[in-house]
């Protein structure tokens, strides 16, 4: 069993299955836009519970995709620890060790993708106006004290398509528009920051992200995504290491690649 699970043949057929499932995902995400939007906004277990009754097909597709990814994880794991380790020990060549490390890092990246689905918490699309606050995870309070939009406010009044066309680098300067946001826990101020687009407030594993400015009844506010994920930093470091190892491996074994 382990022999088959670690074989290239199994990798090949599982990859074909995964590509087909991803391709199906491309189609499904076009037809069930709201379902996929919800998938990003709430916890995945809640999404499964919610979607099972009315959109069971997407849940089945999702389960198959997870199964295929899980099999890829096992495949890489078994192949690395039953074959590549032995090859590396036997040959003692640095490239062989690099090849093994590359696969180990890939396994970790894949695991991080899977774990990010079940650990951590998020609260998406929270519209807050100056003076508003929101409780996150029954632990943190996110407070907006001021929202400033110095560029042409009429841009925010336009519909989505027009707005997209007007939001040029000449019309919008990210640094001119911000929200003063504070993160509080048990009445203790943890962090406060002028949050601009693409520069969120971070405190440990908590992140308060400004995803958009909103204009409602003439009142200027912000759309916030609040997330807590212990894996983010680790994920990016391992991902970068994987790319560097990959680069080094190709560089060192350039002449030997078959």
């Amino acid at each position: 069993m382990i022999k088959y699970l670690s074989s290239v043949k199994f990798t090949f057929y599982n990859l074909v299955l995964m590509i087909l499932l991803m391709g199906t995902g491309v189609g499904l995400s076009q037809y069930f836009k709201s379902s996929f939007k919800m998938m990003n906004e709430i916890n995945i277990m809640e999404w499964i519970e919610h979607s099972w009754s009315n959109k069971s097909m997407i849940v089945i597709w999702f389960a198959l995709l997870c199964l295929s990814a899980g099999l890829l994880f096992l495949n890489a794991l078994f192949c690395t620890f039953t074959k590549q380790v032995q090859v590396a020990i036997k040959s003692r060549a640095f490239q062989k060790w690099l090849f093994m490390v590359l696969h180990c890092l890939f396994i970790i990246v894949l695991a991080c993708h899977g774990l990010s689905l079940i650990i951590g918490s998020k609260q998406s699309n929270s519209q807050l106006f100056p003076g508003d606050h929101i409780i996150f995870n029954n632990e943190f309070m996110v407070k907006v004290s001021q929202v400033v939009f110095q560029d042409d406010i009429n841009i925010l009044k336009a519909d989505y398509k027009t707005q997209r066309g007007l939001m040029t680098r000449d019309n919008i300067n990210r640094k001119h528009n911000y929200a003063d946001i504070s993160l509080i826990r048990h009445k203790e101020l943890l962090e406060t920051k002028k949050v601009i687009m693409l520069s969120p407030l971070r405190y440990g594993s908590v992140q308060v992200t400004l995803s958009d400015f909103v204009l409602k009844d003439g009142k200027l506010g912000v759309n916030l995504n609040i997330t807590k994920n212990h894996l983010n930093y680790f994920f990016f470091v391992v991902y970068a290491l994987m790319i560097l190892t990959f680069g080094l491996y190709v560089f060192l074994s350039y002449r030997d690649i078959k």
Binding site: V8, G23, F36, N229
Partner: protein, 247 residues
Amino acid sequence: MKQDFPFFIFLLTGLLFFLELIFILVKKTKIADKFRIIATMACMSGLAYIIVVTKRLPLFGPFEASFYILFILTLLVKESQKKHSFPDLSAKLSLISSIVILFILALQAGKSMVINPDYYMYDNIWVMLFFNLRLIAAAFLIHAMVLSLTGFYGNSYDQDLLHRSAKKSLLIGTIIYLSSEWSGSIWCLNWFGESWRWNNGFFKSSMVFLLVMLACHLPTKVSRNRFLRTLFACFPGLFVLWIIFFH
């Protein structure tokens, strides 16, 4: 000027590459080489136009992508010709690359000849890296496709040589592609609070990586089959072309 120039440069580039193909077919290699150089320069002027008008590097969209990819592709093919300098192999490489280049230009022919509308996030380093590296990676994956196809029509020695070169190009393309994805993940984290999201773009991006993985994990039976080996090496390049022109 803003509308006419892109169309003019597209026609000129297309015509020059077409003439190159004609001269390759009539075996006037030296003249064909000259046309390739002029066509590359025309491509470069299209690229310069995009950079001057937008004040940034090409990012995405058929028009920007086609000129950028063609420019890098012609340089990569030139480099391959230097490495595989046997006249017969070099001529085959010219022929196949010329056909692939004209195929890319034909895909662009049905699309509008305009550069993408500006967006305020294009000043962000992660956004620029995400889009720009993706196009460079695409050029490498298409280069791998060109090498594989050339190998397919060659003798067994050519096949082996070009298959190895194609694999190298595929691997370098993947490293660049993963760097692009890494930058894109940072962009996503800074914009939405998560490093990746369930959407159309995520599925397509993953498919590119999985297709490369597939080409590098062929079972012995499949990799011994000349047709299948070529087909799997071509898939990543074909798929990025589909993403760029029909996304």
